[in-house]
Amino acid sequence: MTDLTDSFPTTAIDIAWNVRNNIVRATEVVERHLAEIERREDDIHAFNLVLADEARERAAEIDDAVSVGRDVGPLAGVPIALKDNMCTRGIPTTCSSKILDGWRPPYDATVVTKLREAGAIVIGKTNLDEFAMGSSTENSAFGPTRNPHDTTRVPGGSSGGSAAAVAAGFAALSLGSDTGGSIRQPAALCGVVGVKPTYGAVSRYGLIAFASSLDQIGPFSTTVADASLLLESISGHDPLDSTSIRQGSLDITRQLDFGVAGLRVGRITDLPEGASSDVVERLEQAFDALRDAGAEIVDVEVPAFTYGLTAYYLIAPAEASSNLARYDGVRFGNRVEAPDTNAMYTATRTDGFGAEVKRRIMLGTYALSAGYYDAYYGRALKVRQRIADDFARAYERADVLLTPASPTVAFHLGDKTSDPMSMYLCDTYTIPSNLTGEPAMSVPFGTGDDGLPVGVQVLAPALQEAMMFRTAAVLEQRVPR
């Protein structure tokens, strides 16, 4: 989507290589992206906040460092947009919620620290569905984000702002968070690469929690290689996150060109229905492309796949109801005054949260409350285990699995806002990977109805990101025209 007609570098890898070798200045990289933002942001609204001054300052620092021969990191000078649910010290972090509007965290998320160390330049904080609850970025207290391919349509969600920012060329890279598909679904709808890493591969410290056992930060980019580079930069053990996996950063890029010869690619024969025909067609072409590249296509069954949605919509709201209890108007964020503390809690939360957030808090509170725990939350945890078992069995026969990322191409704004269940069904194919903690990514694979992007999802067993990326790289090379 970028309108850079000259040979100026656009991918993160190219930008970083040129900046590191003093061929292109970070300052110019930043100016070009800011110009693009200036040109189209009003129509798209990818950002809650554009950090123009900060980005310029940081770019100047990097240029200075380059000029004296210092190593400026693998992402030197690369503009990156952050989903506005990652804490940035002294910089407003809102979760697109009225309740946090204006709050400036006194600390940085671990990913933010890592990005700085890697030389990346944070160019803005992107819009999202409030507290990452949604699949269209329409549940934002600051208004919806629009799809750069067609501004009458949604970018997907909840990381819609981050997906749109990369698709529109506002930033070479962005980070989103994925609790039930919130990176992969908007990546598919915006025609960019989006990755949900293995749970625990990327630190959650400083990521404002939606559902702690499902949340994971991951990259958006225009190319598979860029996503690989970014994921390597942000992954690795963090002592501040108890669920962080105790190993070094993921090792992916080295294996990116290994191809898929001999790889067993699984087709899930009992996949839940609901994908539109254009999406199904692309998926079939994806299998063909991989077969042509030497992969073996195998049929597998994941019978519990279909129960993912239910397990997810009981577990995620339950955790969320607890995670969002801290927005009580006492220590940070906004407060609505009332004569006593209890009334203040209720006034603050009733005013501060949007409808979808309230709906999920109530659903989760119900699922956990006395008398219902066993029937809902407790049962959902068992279904979760069942799903994990089914995937484990499937991975005995296949190395990776392929499914649609989203059941449809981008839909119009307002299409699903009145019926929460119809919105929830957008996550049918992405949810199981969050429940199992296994990695999955969406890679653009041609277009569907109305010429809109279609994404194919590649799933892999825990910590098998390298295999997943190899598969995605092959699909990227064989995109149908």
């Binding site: 804490c87 006194p106 600390y107 959650r204 009580d328 006492v330 220590r331 956990l368 409350s369």
Partner: protein
């Protein structure tokens, strides 16, 4: 079992059934889930970090030392250390930053132990689990810092996140004395193993009591939980008041409502705080931000072997050395002051353990575990008493001098004071002189009026300038009378 502690408590035929829940702040450097200091008395809100404040995005990481201290305590009260998990207890209160407390719920770290009271009475321990403390609220305006009538409240989060162990006893306690002894003993163990300073006055040890009453042999009655019991003495008072209140209600034909009650130290009563019907629905579920704690057997054994000799065993040793019962007052007091080893050292230096015990209990209340008087000096002193070289009164004076000078030679001090074993004939001369000087008193004494003895003994003590042994004087007078 001694009568002192297990003596029956009944009220109009009812007995009390009591279980105690004791919260103890662990003596770590930092908080349970974050690296800000666990320190009492600092300026408000200076010991805070994103986790302590429950800021968005903050995540807990468990403090290894807190786990080890909980294990030390658990093993000291004979618990099994097991695989454990953390849960969230959800409720709104301004001093609870995240609006949930991270606590151990259905899988606590320590289970199934017991604690023996000094008299041998055994109280079962159901569990001991780790959890985080809350912040502290101060109520401004209104009267006396109470919630009711206050204009607003101020919150200090320094204490939020401080590691606590909650020790839950089984409902084995039947008397206020047992309850007090349980709390004292638990406190002594906590201090001995270094788990906590267990200062009730600073709030680092807090007691809740579950109290019910029943006719002996009947089923357990409905219980009430009493909060805010802040001293050992109050534990006894609160449960006694509460048990009597419940008996009163039953006798009046009313039934007991399960509720939480608050102990009011000033009026000596318990008051309703909330009834079970409006008890919170805590929606416990496993904390997704923390992982399982499963100490390996090697760690558990290392902790077990590093435990010191516990107060109960120390009392038995001291009792054996001094010929007393392990629950004798002097044994309890001296062990509690950590001076038991000193008494044993006096005995090892050739002194008399039982006399040393009395001296230490009475003269060394303000001294620590290592009194300023060298054990050898006190040993000499007790030997001189045994050998009749010093009377009890003289020994006290010599000891006072030794203590004041931080040691010295007992024999030299006695000599300097002119204390010598009084010659028997000298004493007889003095006794005869006293009889001659007070014929009326003598006549009364002989006719069986015991009170008259005092005047005669007093005269001898005066004549000897306090050097005579009172017991010897009495014995001589008896012999004269019976002759």
């Amino acid at each position: 079992m001694s009568d002192a502690i297990t003596s029956e408590w009944t009220f109009r035929g009812y007995e009390m059934v009591v279980g105690l829940e004791v919260h103890v702040e662990l003596a770590t450097r930092t908080k349970l889930f974050s690296a800000s200091p666990n320190r009492f008395g600092d300026e408000p809100n200076t010991n805070i970090d994103p986790v302590t404040l429950g800021l968005p995005g903050a995540l807990p990481v468990l403090n290894r030392q807190a786990v080890e201290l909980a294990m030390r305590l658990g093993l000291a009260v004979n618990c099994t250390v097991q695989r454990s998990t953390f849960a969230r207890k959800n409720y709104f209160y301004p001093d609870m930053p995240k609006a949930y407390q991270i606590s151990q719920y259905d899988e606590p770290i320590c289970i199934d132990g017991w604690l023996d009271l000094p008299d041998g009475f055994r109280v079962g321990i159901e569990r001991a689990h780790l959890e985080e403390d809350t912040g502290k609220s101060t109520h401004v305006g209104g009267t006396g810092g109470r919630i009711h009538g206050s204009e607003h409240s101020l919150i200090d989060f320094n204490r939020a996140g401080v590691p606590l162990v909650e020790i839950v006893s089984r409902p084995d306690i039947r008397t206020p004395e047992q309850a007090k002894a349980y709390v004292s003993e638990l406190r002594a163990i906590l201090v001995a193993v270094g788990a906590s300073d267990a200062k009730m006055e600073e709030g680092s040890m807090r007691v809740d009591a579950n109290v019910s009453v029943r006719l002996p042999g009947a089923e357990f009655g409905t219980r009430c939980e009493i909060k805010n019991v802040n001293s050992v003495r109050s534990v006894g008072r609160a449960i006694e008041y509460e048990a009597q209140r419940q008996v009163g209600m039953l006798e009046a034909g009313e039934s007991i409502r399960q509720e939480t009650r608050h102990w009011d130290e000033t009026d000596g009563r318990t008051h309703t705080l909330r009834s079970k019907e409006d008890a919170d629905d805590y929606r416990y579920f496993q904390e997704p931000d923390l992982v399982v704690v499963d100490p390996d057997p090697e760690w558990i054994e290392r902790v077990r072997f590093s435990l010191p000799v516990l107060p109960a065993a120390r009392r038995v040793l001291l009792a054996a050395a001094t010929g007393q019962r392990p629950d004798a007052e002097a044994i309890l007091v001296v062990t509690d002051r950590d001076q038991d080893a000193y008494v044993l050292a006096v005995a090892a230096a050739g002194g008399d353990a039982s006399r040393a015990l009395v001296h230490v209990k009475e003269a060394f209340a303000d001294e620590g575990a290592r009194p300023s008087v060298p054990a050898a000096a006190l040993a000499t002193l007790t030997r001189m008493e045994i050998d009749g070289e010093l009377t009890a009164t003289q020994a006290k004076q010599v000891l006072a001098e030794l203590a004041a000078g931080g040691g010295g030679d007992a024999r030299a001090i006695a000599a300097a004071k002119g204390f010598e074993a009084m010659d028997a004939s000298e004493l007889e001369t003095m006794v005869d002189a006293a009889i001659a000087a007070q014929p009326e008193a003598w006549a009364k004494y002989c006719s069986g009026e015991g009170k008259a003895l005092g005047a005669l003994v007093g005269a001898v003590m005066k004549e000897s300038r306090g050097q005579a042994d009172g017991k010897a004087v009495t014995a001589l007078l008896e012999r004269r009378r019976d002759a």
